[in-house]
């Protein structure tokens, strides 16, 4: 029998498949379609201290084998997530959820994480450090090892839950940032967030998304993600959650061979709402074909 269980930062999960933040809402849109308890976990919509509407529309652009989004962290704010979204989620998901947190200052991160730390449903805190630091000239926290370490330390100080730092690929050296997070006490890292991209409408000569640029995701970025997961997994001892363009069971295996302990699926959920369920159902077949008895044994198995 194919053993799909993995252990992510001390928590056993059924399988390594985790819908990525921003593509799965707070779960219940998908719970109308299938029993989401088949998932290893899922990472909920990026949550901030205050409610956010996000960026103006259009926020979406089609690309070859991918898409650009500039949603801009639309969410109801952590207090309403805890009082409204999590109780709704509890009715359709009985496992630990990964709380995805964003902030624009260190205080934002600690405020949000402190509150989510008290939620029984939350298994892990996935801390998105791709947002601009309003006190740091607008540079993303995730583009400097010092800032990344600062966020990690601050968040670790307010929570007992495992902290996974979500890294941006829009940097010169992602390995140095991953190491800085590990040294600052991170329990894991997840990568890659979207790549900064842009499209221009040829007729109007204006950018397709109102915010000019946005995050590029989808199948097209898969090779970049595999490369970065491979480099980071070689350099750190903490678990790596791999993501970026994962679309099928074979992609999950490839991410794990590159060094991922668990694998997030993002944009694919938007084009096939059953993507995660389909991948989980297909994994045993692919494992058998490849002679894999247990997924946890192939983590970092690339020769």
């Amino acid at each position: 029998m194919a053993e799909m269980r993995v252990n992510l930062c001390g928590i056993d999960i059924l399988n390594p498949v985790i819908p990525a933040s921003g593509t799965f809402g707070y779960g219940y849109e998908y719970a109308d379609l299938y029993d989401i308890n088949c998932l290893g976990a899922f990472s909920f919509k990026g949550t901030t201290k205050e409610p956010r509407f996000g960026n103006p529309t259009p926020r979406i652009a089609e690309c070859t084998a991918g898409m650009i989004n500039s949603v801009g962290l639309q969410n109801p704010g952590v207090d309403r997530v805890i009082s409204e979204e999590l109780p709704k989620l509890a009715r359709c998901f009985d496992k630990k959820v990964m709380a995805n947190v964003s902030g624009f200052s260190i205080e934002d991160y600690t405020y949000t994480c402190e509150r989510l730390d008290k939620c029984e449903q939350v298994g892990w805190l996935e801390v998105n450090i791709s947002c601009p630091n309003v006190h740091g000239g607008g540079m993303s926290f995730g583009t400097s090892p010092e800032c990344a370490a600062q966020v990690t330390k601050a968040v670790k100080a307010v929570t007992a839950k495992p902290v996974i730092i979500k890294l941006t690929p829009n940097v010169t050296d992602i390995v140095s940032i991953a190491r800085a997070c590990e040294d600052a006490g991170a329990d894991g890292v997840s990568l890659i967030n979207t790549m900064l991209g842009m499209r221009i409408n040829l007729k109007t000569r204006k950018p397709v998304v109102a915010n000019t640029m946005g995050g590029f995701s989808g199948s097209a970025i898969f090779p970049v993600a595999v490369r970065m997961v491979y480099q980071v997994a070689k350099a750190v001892k903490i678990p790596v959650v791999g993501m970026g363009g994962v679309a099928c069971a074979e992609d999950v295996i490839e991410m794990m061979l590159a060094g991922a302990t668990a694998v997030e699926v993002g944009a694919q959920n938007l084009i096939n709402p059953y993507a995660c369920r389909d991948i989980i159902e297909d994994l045993p077949r692919v494992m058998q074909k490849l002679g894999i008895d247990s997924l946890s044994e192939i983590i970092g198995g690339c020769k």
Binding site: E29, Y30, E62, Q74, L270
Partner: protein, 244 residues
């Protein structure tokens, strides 16, 4: 919402760049006029959201204008081709508020969703009038089909080549109990300004998923953030906040 395969029965042009596609498949998830479907097209990443013109038993009719790569590919698909479609998306129009004399106002490719709406209103014994707005005579479609349903139909053309010269608002001098409308945003705005009853307005926005997960198509309303794909595309007149 339902994901299923549909087979193309017919795919023919109604005008130079507006096509009518008839498909065969499971339409059971389509529960209201004004809902839309989201179509997977080979070679493209995101699905293409298209409003439902009519759905009955196993037949689905959509009308689309060729405006880009996706709709270009759609226009070239032949009979028998199978398409992966998400159906039953969006809220659709609420018929209960129509009163006895609802006025339906459509502009360009905003016309199609009003067809099934008119059909449903007439089936309820309502006296439905329709104003269909186009730029020019060559772009007119479906006026006959609305007449065949038993609607009182007024056509406007911006250049005056057919019917009332001007915009749909130039034909709004009639007695109506309620307004249902779909069309380009400037038209919706003009109808909103002239409308002296309650009404429902169907909006368009670029979408990621089409089923409420990605927040790609959010808009601000009087009652808070709404997703055009899930909480819309139809908004009540009293909810609308004009942004742009």
């Amino acid at each position: 919402m339902k994901q299923s395969d549909f087979k193309i029965i017919k795919n023919t042009p109604l005008t130079r760049d507006v096509y009518e596609m008839t498909l065969e498949g499971d339409t059971s998830a389509i529960t209201a006029a004004g809902q839309f479907v989201n179509i997977k097209i080979d070679g493209l990443y995101l699905r293409r959201p298209i409003s439902v013109c009519d759905a009955e038993s196993d037949r689905l009719i959509i009308i689309y204008k060729v405006v880009g790569k996706g709709t270009r590919i759609m226009s070239e698909l032949g009979e028998g081709v199978s398409l992966d479609i998400l159906t039953g998306l969006g809220n659709g129009y609420d018929l209960d508020k129509s009163g006895d004399k609802p006025l339906l106002i459509g502009g360009g490719v905003g016309v199609p969703p009003l067809y099934n709406l008119a059909k449903r209103l007439i089936a309820q014994g309502k006296n439905a009038s329709v104003i269909l707005g186009f730029n020019t005579e060559a772009e007119i479609f479906y006026a006959q089909q609305f007449k065949a349903l038993g609607c009182d139909v007024t056509v406007t053309t911006a250049d005056g080549s057919y019917g009332v010269k001007g915009f749909v608002t130039d034909a709004m001098d009639k007695d109506y109990s309620y307004i249902y409308t779909c069309g380009p945003e400037p038209m919706l705005k003009a109808v909103y300004a002239r409308c002296n009853s309650g009404g429902q307005f169907s909006f368009e926005e670029r979408m990621g998923c089409g089923f409420g997960a990605c927040m790609g198509c959010s808009c601000k309303t009087v009652t808070g953030c709404k997703r055009i794909c899930k909480d819309g595309p139809v908004l009540g007149k009293e909810e609308i906040l004009w942004q742009k």
